[in-house]
């Protein structure tokens, strides 16, 4: 039973990965098709992604996913074979298919619930295939040689024809690779060749391969001349040969006279076969099978060639301006690699990593104990040598333990790009629905975060993007009136800042009018008119994070009424993160989310209250101060101090958790320590007895007894097997703010 479950979840994880790749590929294709032509390699990558998904679904008996991928595969096959043009309508259906896959891959609570209905999307996909262009009259390719033609797949043959139709020359690049270094060699050669044209296929050379080398004939379609290609590629064991019909040897690019050294004179030139016509120099030269039938129009002037927007050679050289330009620098190669990388990935259940992490934490304790033993030893004079040696070993172990811990943490890290891809689809769909032209610019997609955090980020970011499009970016006429570019712009950035990750969502829309916000809050009674008058602009803007606040008076279809920036804030806070907003009316709005890189292990401030030890996540500690008790004032039964001219509510941990003093430790009755903690824009001071120091702690889930105690987030172990509770700063801040609301109107403090 559990084996079945495991299989199913493995399938879902792998299928999701394929769909993510597919989605990325489609987005890039869309960008390319907008700016000219789609890269055939990319279309092929999309086909291959779904092809492999179909295989997966077949293996796991996932019928709905199998059925959808089967039909989708046919559509993509038509696209890559040039029978179907990559129009906007086609892209719409393909994106729709991604959404259906998403629904199919979402685990359902009730196992008996039937799969979502895939028939509508199947109908739409099939309708596309019916628009297929009729087969074109095929050019005669016999001059290429039977030995080559007979081993081409249908797709490769199609690409060969497309290359010839678009007026490219056909070249055979012969290369010999050392059997041990072929992986690297072939990739390097591939990169070089891609600059000059399209690699159609790789043929194992019939003659040369031996035990320690492999010879390949690579079929390359290129607009460059033989001389140019030879200069660029023919280095070492690589030679370039031109394939052309016998009666038109130099119709497209005349082979240059041998002595000329066109572009890079220093390169050793190996124009292997400078005779003008050389159809016989294919690997099939010996079989005498080459029909020299060049009379058919092979050079692309037959007027039938625009079916699937064949990529012009020029646009392949410079990367197409892409929506995701920052993210995916070099088109085709990237998605091909990412597909292939599947085989080099191991999927690990996060719980197993947690287990390892706990072990590392426990090893850390052992290490502490060893240090204690060492101290003991030191005090015995006779064993000085032994203790020195032990010290060396312990230091070594400490270093390696830190590395091990970091290594395990690294395994949990995934690029934020996974979420950005999803958002790119949302932007695409919403901008359609609302008829707003919007450019999404992504940077830092490779920034890594803990897998758990990345997953939890998806909803808040989705909300924010929706708000940007719905409320932020103006409609086209309005933008024109304001002299803004017609297309709205949303930038999605991620970057590492110290040990935290910052994610920014910035739009060039209308900005947030703080006066409007303030007045609305007053009207709704969320703030009193007096508070309103004394409110600073940044405080007013921060009201958008207040529960139930909405910028629009009326609900819209996209984001509803007040899509709930309060929910966004709460979700971010749950991840020990903070959210800030800066805005300028007429210019735009920027939200910045600051997050820890991981939640599995955190730096904590260890404190003591009434003899009990607690940990506070260091990332929410703003400062620790010593406060004279006379500075504390009481307002309606709640203690506050004034810090930086602001009222700071205080919380006594001992009172909050009803702690009775464990030991009668000495306490200065005139002073207390206050740890100022903050989440988003709220600040609360925790009154504690002692600050014991900072420590890395591994968070462990709580047992059922204390799971529901408010204010406790988890447990951890400190040295000597002491279990220590970790404070839930979010809850404590809420508690403090509630008290403060009941007493003084602190409103919201400054934006950090």
């Amino acid at each position: 039973m559990s084996a079945v479950d495991q299989n199913a979840s493995e399938f879902i994880a792998e299928a999701q990965e394929v769909i993510e790749t597919f989605s990325r590929t489609l987005l890039e294709l869309e960008a390319q098709s907008r700016s000219g032509g789609a890269d055939p390699d990319l279309v092929n990558a999309a086909f291959r992604a779904i092809h492999s998904l179909k295989g997966l679904a077949g293996l796991f008996g996932a019928q709905a996913i199998g059925g959808l991928s089967h039909t989708l595969e046919s559509t993509l096959d038509s696209l890559r074979l040039g029978k179907l043009a990559l129009s906007r309508a086609v892209l719409d259906v393909l994106f729709e298919a991604i959404e259906v896959f998403g629904r199919l891959l979402t685990p359902r609570d009730d196992p008996d619930e039937p799969d979502p209905d895939i028939e509508p999307i199947l109908v739409r996909l099939r309708a596309l295939t019916e628009q297929e262009a009729p087969d074109l009259p095929q050019d005669n390719l016999e001059w290429v040689g039977e030995a080559i033609l007979s081993v081409l797949t249908e797709y490769e043959e199609h690409r060969l024809r497309e290359n010839i139709r678009s007026g490219r020359g056909l070249y055979r690049v012969h290369a010999k690779f050392d059997i041990l270094a072929i992986d690297v060699g072939i990739e390097q050669l591939k990169d070089k060749m891609k600059v000059y044209g399209e690699v159609i296929t790789y043929l194992p050379s019939a003659d040369g391969s031996s035990d320690d080398s492999i010879e390949l004939d690579i079929l390359l379609g290129s607009k460059s001349s033989l001389a140019e290609l030879s200069a660029a590629l023919a280095v070492g064991d690589v030679s370039v040969h031109r394939l052309a019909p016998a009666d038109a040897p130099s119709a497209i690019t005349p082979a240059p006279p041998r002595p000329s050294q066109p572009s890079t004179p220093a390169q050793p030139q190996r124009i292997a076969s400078p005779t003008p016509a050389e159809p016989r120099s294919t690997s099939s030269g010996h079989n005498g099978h080459n029909g020299h039938n060049g009379h058919n129009g092979h050079n692309g002037h037959n007027g039938h060639n625009v079916v699937a927007a064949p990529m012009p050679a020029s646009s392949r050289r410079e990367p197409a301006p892409s929506l995701l330009a920052d993210d995916v620098p070099e088109g085709a190669g990237v998605s091909e690699t990412s597909l292939r990388s599947l085989s080099q990935t191991v999927r690990v259940d996060l719980r197993r990593l947690d287990l390892l992490m706990n072990l590392v934490g426990e090893l850390g304790l052992v290490q502490n104990n060893l240090a204690g033993v060492l101290e003991h030893l030191r005090q015995l004079d006779r064993s000085a040598d032994v203790s020195r040696e032990l010290q060396v070993q312990i230091r070594d172990m400490t270093r390696k333990l830190a590395l091990l811990q970091q290594g395990i943490l690294d395994v949990r890290m995934v690029p934020i790009g996974q979420v950005f891809d999803k958002l790119a689809r949302v932007v695409r769909k919403l901008s359609r629905d609302l008829d707003k032209d919007i450019r999404l610019v992504i940077s830092g997609a490779e920034t890594v975060l803990d897998k758990l955090i990345v997953e939890e980020l998806s909803d808040p970011l989705m909300h924010m993007i929706r708000n940007c499009i719905d409320h932020g970016i103006e409609a086209a006429p309005e933008r024109a009136r304001l002299g803004k570019p017609p297309a709205g712009r949303i930038e999605l950035r991620a970057f590492q800042k110290g040990n935290r990750v910052v994610i920014e969502v910035e739009d060039d829309g209308g900005g947030i009018d703080w006066l409007q916000i303030r007045d609305m809050a007053v009207r709704k009674g969320q703030v009193t008119p007096e508070e309103g008058v004394s409110m600073a602009p940044s405080e007013a803007v921060n009201l958008i994070f207040a529960p139930g606040f909405s910028i629009r008076e009326t609900a819209t279809e996209v984001s509803g009424r007040g899509v709930g920036m309060d929910v966004v804030k709460t979700n971010i806070a749950k991840l020990s993160g903070m959210i800030d907003v800066t805005t300028e009316v007429g210019k735009g709005t920027k939200f910045s989310i600051t997050l820890p890189v991981t939640l599995a292990i955190i730096q904590a401030l260890v404190i003591q209250s009434a003899g009990h030890t607690f940990c506070i996540p260091l990332n929410s500690v703003l400062e620790s101060i010593m406060v004279e008790t006379r500075e504390i004032s009481t307002i309606e039964g709640h203690e506050v101090i004034i810090l930086n001219k602001k009222t700071l509510p205080l919380l006594h941990l001992s009172r909050l958790f009803s702690l009775r003093p464990l030991s009668r430790s000495y306490r200065d009755p005139h002073r207390v320590y206050v740890v100022v903690v903050g989440l988003a824009q709220h600040r609360v001071g925790l009154v504690v007895d002692e600050l014991l120091g900072q420590q890395d702690v591994v968070i462990k889930p709580l047992g059922s007894a204390v799971r529901n105690v408010p204010g406790i987030a988890g447990a951890t172990e400190l040295g000597a097997n002491r279990t220590v509770l970790l404070l839930d700063v979010g809850r404590l801040v809420d508690e403090g703010v509630r008290q403060a609301d009941a007493t003084v109107s602190i409103g919201v403090s400054h934006v950090r």
Partner: protein, 145 residues
């Protein structure tokens, strides 16, 4: 003596499936590779009693691989099973023309795979026992079965 299988398949899931089905059947030892390049590395130096290959693979496709394998004297008669999807009929026919023994279309069940592989191996044994005069005499494959 176990039957040595070279499995060439770029989809990790399919590779694992075919590999584990055959290995768990007991009489097969499977060498799994993910593309044509890796296969070409092995072809001249390793002994195989059976090759199973996909057709649609990056870089070197299955047809090219079949051609190359058949060129190699040691593998001119090695049984060769193609696993591919049903839509690619043209490619399947080409594979057969190039010397594939049989084509098995995806998706297939464990039983279909085992029966087909057994049939391919049996056909090869029969052929080895009564050499087909139409075929070029070549050095036989590694073992007799």
């Amino acid at each position: 003596m176990p039957i040595r299988v070279l499995l060439v398949e770029d989809s990790p899931a399919m590779r694992t499936f075919v590999g584990s089905v055959l290995e768990s059947a007991g009489e097969y030892v499977v060498e799994e590779v993910k593309d044509g390049i890796e296969a070409l590395r092995l072809v001249p130096r390793a002994e195989f009693d059976l090759v199973i290959t996909d057709i649609n693979m990056p870089d070197i496709n299955g047809l090219e691989l079949i051609h190359a394998i058949r060129q190699h004297p040691r593998h001119a008669n090695t049984p060769l099973l193609v696993i591919t999807t049903n839509d690619r009929e043209r490619d399947s026919l080409r594979a057969l023309k190039l010397g594939a023994s049989e084509v098995l279309t995806k998706p297939f069940t464990r039983e279909e795979l085992l029966v087909t592989v057994a049939r391919v191996m049996e056909a090869a044994r029969t052929r080895a026992a009564s050499p087909d005069p139409a075929r070029k005499p070549v050095r036989g494959p590694g073992g007799d079965g």
